[in-house]
Subunit: 302 residues, 6 copies
C-alpha cells in the first residue's frame, strides 16, 4: 500500500506532510474556493460538473486557479490514479479541491498579494460511519437560531470555506440533540440548506426543495432532479417554511459523501410517520443503481 499523496502547488506530498504557510489567504481571509467530489466504484462521479462549478466560483471570487478547467480535470484524475491503488474494491474516495489566491501578507495593503494561487487536490477514504445509521432510522433535522447570510452578502452558490457561521449553526443544533443535523433558515425564515448539503421534502408524492437563491446548487441536488424525472415523480423548487417540514410525509438531505440522508424527525417532532419513507428509499435505490454501488451497503460495511 502506497502513501496517500496530495497535490499541492505542483508537487505531490504525503497527506500528513501536506501543509501550507500560515500566511496563505486560506487562513488569513478564509478565501478558499472549493469542491468535493466522490467516486463510486472508483469512478469519480460527475467530476467535470464539479470542476465547472469550481471555475464559476473562482470567477465570482475574482481570482484564478492558474490553469484551465481541462488542466484541472486532467490533474485531478492524475491525483486519483496515483492514490487509487490504496482503495480496495468496495471502498471509495472523496476528492477535494481547495484553491486560494495564495500568500497574503497583511502589511502589503490589505489585499491578496499578487502571489500565485494555492492549489490543493486531496483524496481521502470515504468513511461514512458517522451517517450510516441514518439511512434506516433517519436523522433529526433541527433549525439553528442563526440564519444563513443573505445572497446580497455572499451567494451560497459560491462554494467556499468561509464557513464560520455554518459551523456555529451546527453547534447550536447539537444543543437539542448531539446527533442533530442543522437545517438553516434564511433571514426571512425560509428553509435554505444544511451546513454541507441540500434539503428536500416529499408531500403527497411531490418532491419540493428550496430554489438556489439561498443555497448551494448541489451536484447531488441535480442528481435528485435527474432521478425524480426518471422515476416520474414530480419535483419542483419553491419557497419552503418550517410548517412544510412539520406537515411533510418525508424529508431528506443530499450531499456528496452520503448522497441521501433521510430526516425522520424535525425540531423534536416526527416527519410523517417518523420512518424513512418510500420515495426516499426509491431514490436511494435508484441512485445506487445509477452508480453501480449499493450506497447503504457500502456505508454500513464494517
Amino acid at each position: 500500500m502506497t502513501e496517500n499523496l496530495v497535490y499541492l502547488n505542483g508537487e505531490y506530498v504525503p497527506a500528513n506532510e501536506a501543509k501550507i504557510s500560515i500566511f496563505d489567504g486560506a487562513i488569513s481571509l478564509g478565501m478558499t474556493v472549493t469542491e468535493s467530489t466522490r467516486t463510486f466504484a472508483h469512478q469519480p462521479y460527475r467530476l467535470r460538473d464539479h470542476i465547472n462549478r469550481l471555475f464559476l466560483s473562482l470567477k465570482a471570487a475574482r481570482f484564478e486557479a492558474g490553469m484551465t478547467a481541462d488542466e484541472m480535470e486532467r490533474l485531478t484524475l492524475e491525483v486519483w490514479e496515483k492514490n487509487k491503488p490504496n482503495y480496495e474494491a468496495g471502498t471509495d474516495a472523496w476528492i477535494i479541491h481547495n484553491i486560494t489566491p495564495g500568500q497574503w501578507v497583511p502589511s502589503s495593503g490589505q489585499k491578496p498579494a499578487e502571489s500565485q494561487s494555492t492549489v490543493m487536490i486531496v483524496t481521502l477514504p470515504l468513511d461514512l460511519s458517522y451517517w450510516k445509521d441514518f439511512y434506516q432510522v433517519g436523522c433529526h433535522a433541527v433549525t439553528p437560531f442563526a440564519r444563513i447570510q443573505p445572497a446580497q452578502s455572499l451567494d451560497a452558490r459560491i462554494k467556499n470555506r468561509s464557513r464560520f457561521l455554518y459551523t456555529l449553526a451546527e453547534s447550536e443544533v447539537k444543543l437539542v440533540d448531539p446527533m442533530a443535523q442543522s437545517l438553516l433558515l434564511d433571514t426571512d425564515g425560509f428553509l435554505s440548506e444544511n451546513k454541507g448539503g441540500n434539503f428536500f421534502l416529499v408531500t403527497n408524492n411531490r418532491i419540493r426543495t428550496p430554489s438556489t437563491i439561498n443555497c448551494l446548487d448541489g451536484i447531488s441536488r441535480q442528481t435528485i432532479f435527474q432521478l425524480a424525472d426518471q422515476l416520474g415523480i414530480p419535483i419542483e423548487e419553491c419557497q419552503l417554511l418550517p410548517y412544510d417540514v412539520i406537515t411533510a410525509d418525508e424529508a431528506f438531505f443530499t450531499s456528496t459523501p452520503y448522497c441521501i440522508m433521510p430526516a425522520t424527525k424535525f425540531n423534536g417532532m416526527p416527519v410523517g410517520n417518523g420512518e424513512v419513507g418510500p420515495i426516499t428509499k426509491k431514490l436511494i435505490a435508484s441512485w445506487s443503481e445509477l452508480v453501480g454501488v449499493d450506497i447503504i451497503k457500502q456505508a454500513q460495511a464494517p
Copy 2:
C-alpha cells in the same frame, strides 16, 4: 539579526517555515478566531484588551484555545521578546493571534474533531507604506454593492477569518478606484465598517460612528472615544447613511496598523472640502502623543 520566530502549537518555528496542515479547521471551515495588536515604540498597545476580546470571540465561537487569558498574554509577550531584537528603534511590529479548533477530518461526521486547538502567534514588521500617503491626502472611501452579513447570520464583533465577503467587497470598490477603501453598508443600507477597520464622521465638530450592532468593536475605535473625551470633542454612536458621509466635514477609518486613515473622497465626491480636516489631524496628533510615537512620521519613514 535573528530569524523571525513564530509560535505554533507550543513550538517556535521560523516564519517562513510556519505551516499548518491542509486539514486544519482554519482551511476547511474558515474557523479561525483572531486578533491583531501592534506595538508603539516596541510596547504592545492594549495587549490585554486584545486578548480579552480574543477570549470573548472564542466563547462565542464555542471552542477553546487550550490556555487561559493570562497564559496567552504571557506567551504573547514571550513571542514578542524573542523577536524584538530584530526591530530597530523607530520601527514597530504587528502581533497576530490566529486560533482554530484544530484538525478537521471531513469523514468524521462533519464536526470539528476533538483534536487540540491550533494556536498561532506571529509578529511581523509593521510596513505602513501602503497607507502612508493617506495621512496627508486622505483615501477614497467607496461603498461596494455587496452588503455585510447581518448580525443574526454572524456578529461582526466575533473577530474571525471567514472574510470571503469582505475580500470580495474590497475587490468591488477597486473597480471605481484602484486605491479605494471599502466602506460596507449593511442590509438596511446603514454604514457598517471597512474590511478591517471602523469608520467615523465629523460633522459640525461632533464625531459620529456606527454602533457595534453591525461592526467590530475595535480597540482603535475605543481609542478614538478615549481621545475625543480627552479633547472635549462630543462623540456618539448612531445609525449613519451614505448621505451623512456626503454632508460630513471630515471622515476617517481606524484600524490597528495605521491607527487613523483619513477619507477625503466618498463615492467620487469630496468629503467636506476634500482635505484632511482639523479634528482628524488633532486625533492623529493626540494618538501620537498618547503612545509616544509620531504615527505619520513613522509610516512615512523610508
Copy 3:
C-alpha cells in the same frame, strides 16, 4: 376560609365555576386585553399603573371595558378585599384582568358583535414554586427559532392574550432544556422579550435592556429603572444581540410574579461566570426592601 371569588361581568362567582360562553371573542378571536398585577404583603403593587396600561391597551384594541379606569381600580380592590381573608401572612396573590369585546357570533358579519364587553377580574394564590430555585442558580435562557411578530403586525406593548406564537416559542426552547426559558429574537435578530417578561443584561456594571419597540413596557421593567436609579447603576435601552448575552457578566428576566429571574446560562453557555451576579442580587434585595417582602424567602417558603 371563604371560597375564591372571581368577578365576572358584574357578578361574583367561585373561581372553579367561573366560565364564559364558547362564543366569547376571547375564544373566537383571542381578543383579550389583559393585565397581571401582584400583591406584596397583601398590598397590590402599582395597581394604578397596571390599570392605566390596561386602558391604553383597550384604546389600541379599539374596544371598551364598559367602565372608567377609576371604576376598574375600585372594583379590583373590591375583588381583592373579598378574597384577601384567604391569604395568610407571608403569602401573596396574583390579580388578573381579562377584558374581551364580548360575544362574537360568526354568522353576524365577521366583526365583534355589539354585545357588552366581558370583564374578568381574578385573584389567585401566587405559587412561585416553579421559579424558586432560579433565584440562586439562575435559569437557562434559550432563543427559539420562531421570531416575535414585528410591531407593524402587532405591537408587543398591547398586553393581550393572542399568545399562540409565544407559547410555541416556549415549547421550542424546551427541546434544548426542559427548564429553559425563552428569550425571543425579533425578525432582525435583536433580543426582544420572554413569553411573559422583559430581559436585562449587566456588562461592566452597566444595565442594558431592549427598548420597547419590540417588547412589553413592563411594570417590573419600570421598577428595575427605578431601582437602578436609586442604586446609582447606569441603565439604558438599546438594541441587543445574542453576542451581548454571550459576553455579558449577568443577565435576568423580570415579570410580575417572580419579579427578577436570574439567567446564568444562555444557549448552553454560562453567562459571565455562570453564577447569579452581584448586581442582580442587589436588585433583588432592593426590590424586597422596596415592597417590604423578602422576595426569595417568600418564593422558597414551603
Copy 4:
C-alpha cells in the same frame, strides 16, 4: 324543534349553556386550534379535508386533541346528526371545531398544564345575511395599515384563534368604509389574505392568488383550483401587489361560509369596470352545481 347541542369535552350541552373555564388556555393563551366546515344541502362539505388540516395544525401547535382523526370525524358527524333535525330544507349549518390544550394555571410554571385538551364541536345556523348583497354588487376590499405577521413568527397555515391582529386590521379598514373587507399585506407589501379568507384576482382570463407562504391553505381556495381546472381557466399562485388589484379585471375572496365574495372596489377605486365579473360569476355557478345548492339564492333567502 330540539335544542342546539354542542359537544364539549365528552358531553352534549345546549349551545347557550356551553361554557369553558376562564382558566382555559383558549382564554389565557389564545391557544385554540380551529376549523370551520359548512354543510351544503345538509352534507358536510369536505369534512375529512378540514379534519386532516386540523390535525396538521395540532401537530404544528405541539399538543394533542386526545383522539384520532377518525374519531374526530365520527364524532363530528354525530354532533351534526344530533342537530340536523333543526335545519329546514334550504338552510345549512356551520360546523366549528375549537381545540385547546386545556386548563392553564398561571402559577404552574408558565406552561400549558398537563391537563386534558378541551374539545368543542359546534354547529350553528349559517346566516349569510351580512354577505348576501356582495354576490351581486361586490364588496370593497381595503388594505389596512397593519401587516400580517411573517411566517417566521406564526405560519398563517396553522388555523388558530390568536386573531388579535386580524381583528384590529378589520377595524382599520372600517375607517374607510363601514362595509369594507380587509385585504392584508405582508411585511414586504405583498397581498396575503382576508381576516378569514383567501383572495383571488382575474386578469386577462387568468386567475391568480398568493401562494400559501403568507396565507391560510383554505379548503375553499382548493375548491377554486378544482373548479378552475374543470372550467379550463388557467390558475396560478404568485406574489401579488396592490397594483395587481388596481389593474385586475375581477377580484374575489373565498371562505367557508360565503364560498365566494366578489370585490368590485379596492381602496376606493373600481376593480375592472366595477361590476362582478364573468369568471367570478361562472365560478359561483359551478360551485353551486358542484354542491347542489344555489349559493346566492340560499344566501338571499329571506
Copy 5:
C-alpha cells in the same frame, strides 16, 4: 401693486408667464432639488439654513446650481425685495427654490445633458386658509398603506420634487377622511414624516420625534428643538410606532408654511383627550414670539 416676478435662469418674468421647457429634467426625470422658505413679518426665516441645505442636496444629487451659496442667498433676497412691495403688513410670503440639471434630451444617452442647470426662485403669498382651523381643533393624522422609500433607495433628507409616492400616500389617507393628513410609516412600520413636514409626539411632558434616518431634517423641526430647549421641555429623537401616537398626550406636524399643525385624531381615535394640548400651544406661542408674528392670528386673518 406690481406683478409677481419670478427669477428664472437669470431673468425676471411674471409668475403667470414663468414656464420651462417640457424637455427640462424637472419634468423628464423629476430631478428637481428644492427648498421652501417663508418670511415672518417680511423677514425671510433662516434663509441661510435653507440655502445651506439646498447645497447639500445638490451635492448629494451630483449636479450644480451654477452659482455659490452666497450668490444664491444674495439673489434670493433680491427676488424677495422685488416682490415685497406687494405684501401688505400682516401678510407673508413663501420663497421657493427649484433647481434642475437643465435640459434632458432622451436620445442623448440617457443622462442629464451637459446643459446649464435651471434655477427657479419664486415668491408666493402665504395663503394658510387650508390649515387655519387646525390650530384650534387639530387635524386627523392617518397612516397610508404605502410606505416611504427606505434611505438606501433615496434619502429623505435630499429635499427633492420626485414626490409621486408622497402624493399617492396623501390621496390614500383622504379615503378615510377628506381632511386627513398623511403620516407615513417606513418599511419597518416606524413613523417617518408627512408628505411635507415632520411629526412630533408629546407624552408625559416629553417631546419625541423620529430621527432623520427616515425623514427630512426640517428647519421647522430644528426650530422645535430650539424652542423646547428654551422652554426646558425634554426632547429626543427615537424610533416611534403607531402605538406611540395612540398612547400620546399630544401630537403635531411641523412645516415651513404653517409652522405647527396640531393632530388631535389618529386613525380614527382621539390623540390624548382629543384637544390641542398645552405643550403644543406653548410651542406655537413661543414660535410666534420668536418671529414676532402671531402665527395663528395671521393664518386666521380673513
Copy 6:
C-alpha cells in the same frame, strides 16, 4: 421640412416653444405619468399597448387624463401624422406621453388642485448614436449601491417621471465606467431593472428575467417573450442575483429606443466569453424581421 409640433393641452406648438408653468404638478410633485413609444418604418409599434398601460398607470396614480384611451390613441396618431413628413425613410421617431394632474399651487392645501390635467404628446427623432456600438461590443452593466424602491413604496410598473433615484443610480455606475449602464438591485439584493429598461440573462440556452414585482412590465420585454416563443427558446420569470449574471452565457437590456442592448461585461467581469452571444443576436435579428427594420443598421446609420 415643417417644424416639430408638440401637442400640449389641446394645442399644437413648436417643440422648442413647448413649455409648461413652473407651478405644474410635473415640477412641484414629479407627478407625471408617462409612456415612450417608438415607430418602426414610421409605424408606431404597439401604440395601443402603450396607451393601455398609460391608462393603468393613471388609474394607479388616482388622476385622469381628461380623455378616453380611444381619444388618446387617435390624438397620438394625429400628432405623429403631423410630424411624420419630417422623417426621411430609414429614420424613426420616439413618441412620448407625459400626463400630469395640472397646476399645483402650494398654498392650496398641499394637494393637486382641481385644475385640468396637463397632456403632452411629443415626437422626437430617434437618435440612437449613444447606443449604436453596444449592438456589436455590448455594454458594461454595473450595479449601483442605491437600491430600487420596494413596490410597497412605489410600484415600478406605474410608469412615471419621479426618477430621482434612478438618475442618481445611473450617476453612481459612471464612477466605475463612463459608459456603464446601471443594473439596479432591489432592497433584498435581487436584480430589478435598468433606469429605463428591463434585463435578461441567457444561461444554457434558457432566457430568464426578473418578474415584474420589482420592475416595469416593459412592452419591449413583452416582445422578447413573443420572440422567444416564436424561436422556441424557453423563457421564464424568476428571482435573479448578481451571481446569475456572473455565471450567465449572455445578458441584455431591453427598452423602447434601442430594443435590445447586449451587456458583455458585468461589474468588471466578462459575461460569458465577453462577446455578444448567439441568442441575443438571434433575438435582434428576429425583432428586425418582425418590424421590418434592420435595428442595428438603422442605429448605425451615419
